[in-house]
């Protein structure tokens, strides 16, 4: 049987202090987005964010402990078996654990569209390697994701960021050019992105 327990799932602590436990990746789920979050050192359990860019509806279900959610500026304390459904992608949402054992199951996706793995999963998975500047391993994580979705604009853009920091100028420029071809608004993002500092003076840098 394909079974695990939330305490046995590998966790990656992200910079905001929450721990991402990648359920979808663990099981290889392809039909929907699902993850577990637990608190890190800061007590944060759901990072403050909106879903404006992805247009996702989200459900956060408290599996254990107590969590204080702040949704659209309103605070709600939820316990085991309580959930918040954030229908409006533009609402700011965040969660702080009120007990050390808190665990939240998060489910999300875009209405009317088949599920597609979001680029942030790869971003999260590579985060500890980025922190350690282990660039070859970071790039390998992105290449694994791109093997499944070769023309994913955000993955290509992020890969270019990593390659620029790794000093792989040619690869960074090629991937950035391709990302901008697929999503032209990335040109403006790239112009203001510190990650590209090492390649901005290159005449091939897209403008």
């Amino acid at each position: 049987m394909n079974v695990t327990h939330i305490d046995d799932l590998a966790g990656i602590e992200l910079a905001d202090g929450f721990v991402w436990r990648p359920v979808r990746r663990h099981f290889g789920i392809k039909a929907f987005g699902v993850n577990v979050y637990t608190p890190g050192a800061s007590g944060q359990i759901v990072e403050e964010h909106t879903e404006r860019q992805l247009g996702h509806e989200e459900i956060y279900l408290v599996l254990r402990g107590r969590v204080k959610f702040t949704i659209d500026g309103n605070e709600h304390e939820l316990g085991q078996g309580q959930l918040v459904f954030v229908r409006d992608p533009s609402l700011k949402r965040a969660g702080v654990a009120l007990t050390d054992d808190a665990a939240v199951l998060a489910i999300g996706g875009k209405p009317g569209e088949a599920f597609e793995v979001s680029a942030w999963e790869t971003w999260f998975a590579a985060a500890p390697l980025v922190e350690a500047k282990r660039w070859d391993e970071v790039i390998a994580v992105y290449n694994d994701a791109l093997a499944e979705k070769p023309d994913h604009p955000a993955l290509l853009y992020n890969l270019a960021c990593m390659e620029a920091q790794a000093g792989k100028k040619d690869e960074a420029i090629a991937h950035l050019q391709r990302a901008i071809e697929l999503r032209p608004e990335f040109a403006e993002s790239a112009a203001n992105d510190e990650d590209f500092a090492s390649i901005k003076d290159d005449p091939r840098f897209p403008r």
């Binding site: 049987m1 394909n2 079974v3 695990t4 327990h5 939330i6 305490d7 799932l9 359920v23 099981f27 789920i29 392809k30 039909a31 929907f32 987005g33 699902v34 577990v36 996702h56 509806e57 459900i59 279900l61 599996l63 254990r64 949704i71 659209d72 309103n74 709600h76 939820l78 085991q80 078996g81 309580q82 959930l83 918040v84 459904f85 954030v86 229908r87 409006d88 533009s90 609402l91 949402r93 665990a103 199951l105 489910i107 999300g108 996706g109 875009k110 209405p111 009317g112 569209e113 088949a114 599920f115």
Partner: protein, 211 residues
């Protein structure tokens, strides 16, 4: 609270009956659209997840939220305390029983590569529960809303006909069955075998449908 979000306490929701289990109709209540989301609740010894298989491409994740369950997938049985996650791909027979009172299992499901189109069986379970409780107005309201949302579905008017027949409302049942023209190829088999329609089987209008 703004209209952009909603809070739900699973064990405060009125359950619906579905194939011998108690459904907490999360998707129906929230209108969540990206995937099927529901929960089930049972006391020790009670059936949590109705025995079933999913169609091709359907993936399901079960999360034990509270209590303790015993899961059977294929021929394997596993103890599943709160916090257990079980992933089941299409084609595997699965069921679960509660081992403690008040056990709750939350389920997420969808089909690979397809936009989720909104269940329907869970809405029917809510309508069926209202019909059994004698609340025919509530039952009709839910089914009419769903038929307006999915006018292409022949299953919805068919199921509404079953609910009317079960309630002894022959005229209303035939009005629903009349909506099924042209009849889908599966209809004849359903009409011949569905015990939900037994109350109207001897009506001449039923014989007319079978012609």
């Amino acid at each position: 609270m703004s209209e952009g979000y909603e809070i739900l306490t699973l064990d405060e929701v009125e359950t619906a009956e579905h194939r011998g289990s108690n459904l907490i109709p999360v998707r129906y209540l929230l209108g969540f659209r990206p995937a099927g989301v529901n929960a089930w609740i049972a006391d020790a010894g009670g059936q949590l997840i109705p025995p079933h298989e999913e169609d091709s491409g359907n993936e399901e994740l079960y999360a034990v939220v509270r209590g303790r369950a015993s899961f059977v997938v294929g021929d394997e049985t596993r103890d599943a305390p709160a916090g257990t996650l079980i992933f089941v791909e299409a084609g595997h027979h699965r069921t679960a029983t509660a081992e403690e009172d008040g056990t709750i299992v939350f389920v997420v499901g969808a089909t690979i590569g397809e936009a989720f189109s909104g269940g329907g069986w869970d809405t029917f379970a809510v309508a069926y529960t209202l019909q059994r409780a004698g609340d025919m107005d509530g039952c009709r309201r839910i089914m009419v809303e769903e038929m307006e949302r999915r006018p292409e579905s022949w299953e919805l008017p068919y199921n509404m006909a079953c609910l009317e027949a079960l309630a002894g409302n022959a005229d209303e049942a035939f009005a629903m069955l009349d909506r099924l023209a042209p009849a889908p190829p599966e209809l004849r088999e359903y009409l011949e075998n569905d015990s939900d329609l037994d109350n109207i089987r001897d009506d001449p209008r039923f014989q007319e449908l079978l012609k």
